[in-house]
């Protein structure tokens, strides 16, 4: 681990001053940052521990639930309003990591966690995300856990978060704050594609902090479900996952939300599938044929080509669960 300075401010003013230095990282639960610092993958000179800031609340309003940046994954996943009104979010968080990690990891940390691409995590491998311009070892390497959509010739790292997939499906917003004010970004617009700059992963700017995530309470959200397929039954990243929600009235689908995880360089919304569902009857045949429109032009490799078919089946399964109303 590289030597670094450590500060734990208790006011936002102090925090923003500390975060304005170059080579500075904010530390919350530490489940990503400390791990990557130990592996010498991230080498900040200054670490600003933000856990002293009052950003841990979960507040239920009339039309939305606002989740503080420092609310732990466990706090969110077991919050009664989240469980009742945003079931896909509760499911998704519980499907991620392990109990111990969820107890430490925070909402903002989960949003900003780094990829699990094995070449990113091995300092001796070329990786454009870790050291821009060094190349991508994954392109011709072991790619079972890599992305098949949103890729570029410089990066095929999959986005690792389960929570973010549900947040995109639920049309959530990220509230960001800096010394120059506040702004909000839809989670769906928060992440950027790797293109030729895979080291940039989101629209967050230096000196900006995530202060909360706001999730609308809607009839659609109340139906939402998250289905995840992985190589073991717990503590494994997704091979393919889907957060879906349906508004069905009189047997006809009025609105649909379908977002895939485990396959994209960011949470992957599938408008073609959503459009194919709207106006149709909520039957398994409709779900299967709509799901088959997902991932129309995948960028597959021998190790991960199976994800295309798998992801479609996951979508069909998730839609069936929503329509059936039970597991």
């Amino acid at each position: 681990m590289n030597p670094f300075s450590y500060l734990r401010p208790t006011t936002e003013k102090e925090a923003f001053a500390a975060l304005s230095q170059p080579d500075t990282m904010a530390l919350a639960g530490g489940t990503t940052l400390v791990d990557l610092m130990r592996l010498e993958i991230m080498r900040p000179l200054h670490v600003v521990d933000i856990t002293g800031l009052p950003l841990g609340k979960i507040e239920t309003g009339v039309s939305s639930i606002t989740i503080g940046a420092l609310a732990t994954n466990s706090d969110v996943a077991y919050h009664p309003d989240v469980v009742a009104k945003l079931p896909a979010l509760a499911d998704a968080i519980r499907a991620g990591a392990s109990g111990q990690i969820r107890n430490m990891a925070t909402t903002s940390g989960n949003l900003l966690q780094r990829t699990r691409c094995p070449y990113f995590r091995d300092a001796s491998s070329p990786c454009n995300k870790r050291s821009p311009g060094s190349g991508c070892a994954a392109l011709e390497g072991f790619t079972r856990m890599n992305a098949i959509v949103g890729t570029s010739k410089d990066c095929i790292a999959a986005h690792p978060s389960d929570m973010s997939v549900a947040l995109v499906a639920l049309d959530a917003s990220v509230h960001l704050r800096s010394t120059s004010g506040e702004r909000s970004v839809k989670v769906g617009d928060f992440y950027t594609l790797p293109a030729n700059h895979p080291n940039v992963e989101s629209v967050i700017q230096p000196g900006e902090l995530v202060v909360s995530v706001e999730v609308p309470i809607t009839p659609l959200a109340a139906t939402s479900r998250y289905v995840k397929v992985r190589d073991r039954w717990s503590y494994a990243f997704a091979l393919a996952a889907a957060a879906v929600a349906l508004d069905v009235q009189g047997g006809t689908i009025k609105a649909a939300s379908v977002v895939l995880g485990g396959v994209g360089t960011k949470p992957w919304r599938e408008p073609a599938v959503e459009q194919a569902l709207i106006g149709k009857p909520a039957t398994q045949e409709v779900f299967v044929s709509a799901a088959n429109l997902a991932l129309a032009t995948p960028d597959v490799r021998p190790d991960n080509a199976f994800k295309v078919g798998l992801a479609k089946r996951v979508v069909a399964r998730a839609l069936g669960l929503v329509a059936g109303g039970s597991k």
Partner: protein, 695 residues
């Protein structure tokens, strides 16, 4: 009241739960410095330059040791040699033979400073193209030079003739991947010099093997080396032979003239301490119309390093598992640019039973015979290699496990059992492991206060050695276990063999029993004044002649139910019922732990475990326990173990056959067979992941 045979709790359980059990790396040593190993980023070539300047300038750094300045030691094989020793990488030259090989050691006053300084080494290499998998070099497969299980090739009759006679025959290839042991406690050593005497606190399965090897490496008499190790957090074979880090700890402690603590990191566990090698197993079987085997051929190719040899003896069990007039087995190795493999829980049988038990299931299906009935028709009542079995209760295992599992409810056709969107499959297999044993010694002491102290320099890998040895001693002394204290884990104690090959109880148990019986005899004739002092009895056992006369094996039969999601391909082992006959069971509770642990690992081996090595670079891609999957609680169903008690005094004076390894044998085949029964898809490459079932 006899203690042996009762399910008492582990005597060390409370200390472990409270955190007061002193594992090697927990030992408090004053002025201890911290060492870290720096490893190569390339898999083949040599170091062309190594700049230590920046690292040496860092505060707290005491030494940086590399091939440029390391003391000359003997890294090659010593007198023991053979399969029980590995060639070490001790910074003697600039050559690189595998990725993540030790190239330097940095010692500092704190671990963090040592780690940071290690990151400042500037290394340049002359890189050569590496051969990373045996598939890239199959043409160089050759018969191993050393093989510690008789001969690498063995046959009887003629398999060619047997295949001609066969009504049904199959020829298939089965593969198992590289796997890494990854005990919860990584390897580590604290090295302390007192003048020319060395004490090692080392997480090892064999304190005497460690002592002997390190004394040879360093060129000092073995009497000058003491190895202490009172608790081991798992070893599974990876701690069976000393590896480079132990010698490097001793070398660097000498260099800095301070005690040195060297912990292997989880990432380094994938290259520094051995692995179960990838195997390619070609099997040919034939049977007649009644399902009687006419031919068994099992040819194994396994990975080894270019500079050393380890053979995965996966065909051994195929020489004795079923009665057949025509059997042929061979073992070959392919040396590549990878670290040397080693023993890993049931080396040979774990990978070999996957192949042979899958093939038997395939042949039974072709012959339209129930796979359990097929095995019973080919039951070997004596070892086809020539000797009678000392005892064999496999038939009782089949019967007991089949009955409890409900095997009769199985409908024979694949895909014929389902529950909603889940396909249900039943599968079974035969498990087997040899009853190994070596001479051992023990000392029993009657204290003036009426209590007893028994010592043997053995190891407790978390298996229950402390507990069962205390039970054996208490019974032999005819006293309650509270009167007996058993101590282990110090090479100043009486010598015993490595804790490997499921032989600790088989070897040390008889020594403890006999020492205690000898002590009782001495006490019976002791005068009152003798009893005011310690009375000491020490014995060394010999192997009984019976070991030449009989074939000695434990057997078992795991039955599993799997459920496969028809749409998603996800596989769940829903329940396991397994029966084992392993001689006398000393403690049903610790024994059950061993069986359940072996089965659990078998589930991981069948469905999850695989070390991925990059084909281009030879570097491991799976480098931690998030990427290298072993089962978590959610993967493991209820496991119901039935123990068939045997009375077999041919094996040893306490009648045990060993239980540490048999649980991982057979189970992978049983799962593969159940997956076939569920889905109609035969997967011959482990691990069986969902993508192999989709499409």
């Amino acid at each position: 009241m006899k203690s042996v045979g009762t399910p008492i709790d582990r005597l060390d359980a409370q200390r472990k739960v409270l955190g007061t059990a002193t594992y090697a790396m927990d030992t408090e040593v004053t002025k201890v410095a911290h060492a870290v190993i720096v490893t190569s980023t390339i898999a083949k070539g040599s170091i062309s330059s190594l700049d230590m300047t920046a690292a040496k300038r860092e505060p707290g750094v005491l030494a940086v040791m590399s091939h440029l300045d390391a003391p000359k030691v003997m890294a090659g094989k010593g007198k023991a040699g053979g399969a029980a020793e590995r060639i070490l990488q001790l910074l003697q030259d600039p050559q690189i033979a595998y990725a993540d090989q030790p190239i330097a050691v940095v010692v500092a006053d704190t671990l963090e400073r040592a780690q940071h300084a290690a990151s400042l080494l500037v290394v340049k290499y002359t890189n050569e193209a590496a051969v990373a998998t045996i598939e890239q070099a199959l043409g160089s497969a050759s018969t191993p030079k050393s093989f510690n299980h008789g001969k690498p090739d063995w046959s009887r009759g003629s398999v060619e003739v047997g295949l001609v006679q066969a009504k049904f025959k199959l020829e298939q290839t089965y593969t198992t991947p590289n796997q890494n042991h990854n005990p919860m406690e990584p390897h580590g050593t604290i090295a302390v010099w007192h003048g020319d005497e060395l004490t090692l606190y080392d997480s090892t399965q064999g304190i005497f093997g460690c002592r002997n090897r390190i004394s040879e490496v360093l060129g000092i008499p073995k009497e000058k080396v003491r190895v202490i190790n009172q608790f081991v957090g798992g070893g599974f074979g990876s701690k069976g032979t000393p590896w480079s880090h132990t010698a490097l700890a001793a070398m660097s402690a000498k260099l800095v003239n301070r005690p040195v603590k060297l912990a292997v990191t989880r990432q380094q566990m994938f290259s520094l301490v051995g692995h179960r090698p990838h195997t390619i197993q070609n099997i040919a079987l034939g049977c007649d119309a009644e399902g009687k085997l006419t031919a068994v051929r099992h040819d194994v190719i396994s990975e080894t390093s270019r500079f050393d040899e380890f053979v995965e003896p996966s065909a051994l069990q195929s020489r004795m598992l079923y009665e057949c007039a025509n059997i042929s087995t061979t073992h070959k190795v392919v040396g590549i640019d990878a670290p040397t493999p080693t023993f890993m829980r049931a080396p040979g049988e774990a990978s070999g039973t996957f192949a042979i038990e899958s093939a038997i299931d395939e042949l039974a299906f072709m012959a339209k015979i129930d796979p359990l009935e097929f095995r019973i028709r080919n039951y070997a009542s004596s070892d086809p290699q020539g000797k009678p079995f000392s005892s064999k209760s496999l038939r009782q295992c089949y019967d007991a496990a089949a009955a409890k599992f409900g095997w009769k409810k199985r409908t024979p056709d694949p895909r014929s059992m389902r529950d909603g969107h889940e396909l249900v499959g039943y599968g079974m297999a035969t498990a087997t492991y040899p009853a190994n044993q070596q001479p051992a010694s023990a000392r029993a002491i009657a204290k003036p206060d009426g209590t007893f102290l028994v010592r043997a320099g053995t190891q407790d890998l978390g298996t229950g050695t402390y507990t069962v040895m205390t039970q054996i001693a208490a019974d032999a002394l005819e006293v309650p276990i509270e009167m007996v204290r058993f101590e282990l884990g110090d090479s100043l104690m009486p010598e015993t063999p490595v804790s490997g090959g499921s032989m600790t109880v088989n070897s040390v148990g008889p020594a403890v029993k006999q020492a205690c019986i000898a002590l009782k005899g001495m006490m019976a004739i002791a005068r009152p004044e003798d009893k005011a002092k310690d009375i000491v009895a020490e014995i060394k056992t010999e192997l009984a002649k019976d070991h030449d006369l009989y074939s000695m094996h434990a057997f078992g039969a795991p039955f599993v139910e799997v459920r496969v999601d028809e749409d998603l391909g996800t596989i769940r082992v829903a329940r396991v019922v397994a029966a084992y006959a392993c001689g006398k069971i000393l403690n049903p509770k610790t024994a059950n732990n061993q069986f359940v642990g072996g089965i659990t690992w078998g589930i991981g081996m069948a469905l999850q475990e695989e070390t991925i090595r990059d084909r281009r670079t030879g570097r491991n891609v799976t480098r931690d326990l998030a990427d290298y999957h072993v089962p978590v609680h959610a993967d493991i169903p209820p496991i119901d173990v039935i123990s068939i008690d045997e009375e077999d005094l041919h094996v040893n004076t306490i009648g045990t056959k060993g239980i540490g390894e048999i649980g991982i044998t057979g189970i992978t085949g049983a799962i593969a067979n159940a997956v076939f029964h569920a889905t109609g898809k035969r997967v011959r490459e482990l691990p069986i992941r969902l993508d192999k079932l989709l499409g």
